[in-house]
């Protein structure tokens, strides 16, 4: 069941990534929803889920981007495992630590991609720090929104259902 959830989250992230990227093609703004999803599954379900999510998300991105398949997969697998380990060793329950983890994950992912492409002599791009910074900012913002929504949602549903049951129990 957990694997199904991880796969579903990753597929949704890739689809959303491509949908949002329609509006920022070739611009300086970049956002990696797949990375945010990898961090999300790793923090929620642990390092194994992070590894699975990173592998699925990274390989799918590689296959769609037309580059060497495995480069993004390896970097996101490492990031997923790392985030999962951090999530299981430290208390990462509040928004600020989560955002911090995603910020770190974004920088590490970019560095890994750069390192791997250069190590296998694929003529890798140099790192554009402007684009890394915008990606860090946008990923952090999305993380904040996603985690806050997920936290608020169950409480809202509970309050709504308890309000309804209170009305139902009242004798008119």
């Amino acid at each position: 069941m957990r694997i199904v959830s991880v796969v579903a989250v990753m597929i949704a992230a890739v689809a959303l990534q491509m949908a949002f990227a329609r509006f920022t093609i070739g611009g300086r703004w970049s956002l990696d929803l797949v990375l945010v999803a990898v961090a999300f599954v790793a923090l929620k379900w642990g390092p194994s889920a992070g590894v699975i999510g990173g592998t699925i998300g990274g390989l799918t991105q590689d296959a769609l981007a037309g580059g060497t398949i495995g480069v993004g997969g390896l970097s996101k697998t490492i990031v997923g495992f790392g985030v999962g380990v951090i999530g299981s060793q430290f208390v990462v329950a509040r928004s600020a630590p989560r955002v911090l983890v995603v910020v770190g994950a974004t920088v590490v992912d970019r560095m890994l991609l750069w390192g791997i492409t250069n190590a296998i002599d694929l003529g890798g791009r140099g790192i554009s720090w402007v684009s890394v910074l915008t990606e860090v900012g946008l990923n952090a913002l999305v993380t904040l929104i996603v985690f806050q929504s997920i936290e608020i949602m169950p409480g809202m549903m509970r309050r709504r259902s308890s309000r309804r049951s209170a009305f139902g129990a009242r004798k008119w």
């Binding site: 597929i11 890739v14 689809a15 959303l16 990534q17 491509m18 949908a19 949002f20 990227a21 329609r22 509006f23 920022t24 093609i25 070739g26 611009g27 970049s30 956002l31 990696d32 797949v34 642990g46 390092p47 194994s48 590894v51 592998t55 799918t60 991105q61 590689d62 296959a63 769609l64 981007a65 037309g66 580059g67 060497t68 398949i69 495995g70 480069v71 993004g72 997969g73 390896l74 697998t77 490492i78 495992f81 999962g84 791997i116 296998i120 002599d121 694929l122 003529g123 791009r125 140099g126 554009s128 684009s131 990606e135």
Partner: protein, 279 residues
């Protein structure tokens, strides 16, 4: 009993090694994994078609019913028409320029007029920096690999892998490893324009230092790459530096003519240039 943390670490190491082997296999064969790429693209092209349709549907419903009631639909249709007409105008200009050049220099016959097909952009980069787009036209519409893609402003890129029935992926000219045969018509200096640079995103290579390249010079496709027909606008020279000891220019930065951050509709040029043909 195996410790769960050790099991997770073992799993991570195995998966990472599998990735390394996968990368090694492709680096050695230089062929990539076309089957995996095609399956992934096929699946996500359908998903993207639906997602783009839904998002456009929601957006257009909002705009049509709550804002302008139908004016936007008319505007979008007109914009698509203008985009197609501008593309045709570019094609005509390209033919005109090519024809004049041929008449003057080689007295060649008139080229065949290029047919174009308008397409909607339905998806962007699957990964940051990939610089690809997905369009809603595929092999069922006559699209095939390596056809040139243009926008009203100029050259956008090329179809870079086997298309699906109703979707194709386009590699943007500003992308890493993208290139096009180019010429600066004012001085008739040929070279190659490649993407992947920092601001501006294009640079021109192999231009001999004997030419006087100036800032503001127009750069067009030369047609010699067999993908982009001759005479389409690529951009303008932003900076030219001779530098270095080589016989070629050290740096020629090109400002792309197309605004790549706002690609709604593009045109696919259905007629590739004749082999070796160009300005």
């Amino acid at each position: 009993m195996i410790d769960i943390r050790r099991r997770t670490t073992f799993f991570f190491v195995v998966v990472s090694l599998a990735h390394v082997l996968l990368i090694s296999a492709q680096v050695q064969t230089q062929s990539g994994m076309p089957l995996v790429e095609n399956v992934a693209f096929g699946v996500f092209a359908r998903v993207q078609g639906v997602v783009a349709g839904v998002s456009d549907g929601i957006g257009s419903t909002w705009r049509n019913y709550f804002a302008l009631r139908g004016v936007v639909a008319e505007n979008a249709a007109l914009r698509a028409e203008v985009s197609q007409l501008q593309g045709q105008l570019q094609a005509e200009k390209a033919i005109s320029g090519q024809t004049h050049g041929l008449e003057q220099m080689l007295q060649f016959q008139l080229s065949v007029r290029q047919r174009t097909l308008p397409a909607r952009v339905i998806a962007g980069d699957p990964a940051p920096g990939a610089l690809t787009i997905t369009i809603d036209r595929g092999y069922a519409d006559g699209i095939r690999e390596n056809l040139a893609v243009i926008a009203p402003g100029g050259v956008v890129g090329r179809v870079f892998r086997e298309p699906q029935a109703h979707a194709a992926m386009v590699q943007l000219l500003i992308g890493h490893a993208a290139a096009a045969g180019a010429v600066i018509p004012r001085i008739e200096a040929g070279g190659v324009v490649e993407g992947g640079s920092e601001s501006p995103a294009l640079r021109m290579l192999y231009v001999n230092k004997s030419f006087e390249v100036q800032t503001g010079d127009t750069v067009m496709t030369s047609g010699q790459d067999g993908i982009f027909p001759a005479g389409f606008l690529i951009g303008t020279v932003a900076r030219a530096e001779r530098g270095g000891g080589s016989t070629n220019y050290g740096l020629i930065s090109i400002q792309p003519a197309v605004n790549f951050s706002h690609l709604g509709y593009v045109l696919v040029v259905l007629d590739p240039p004749a082999a070796g043909g160009g300005l």
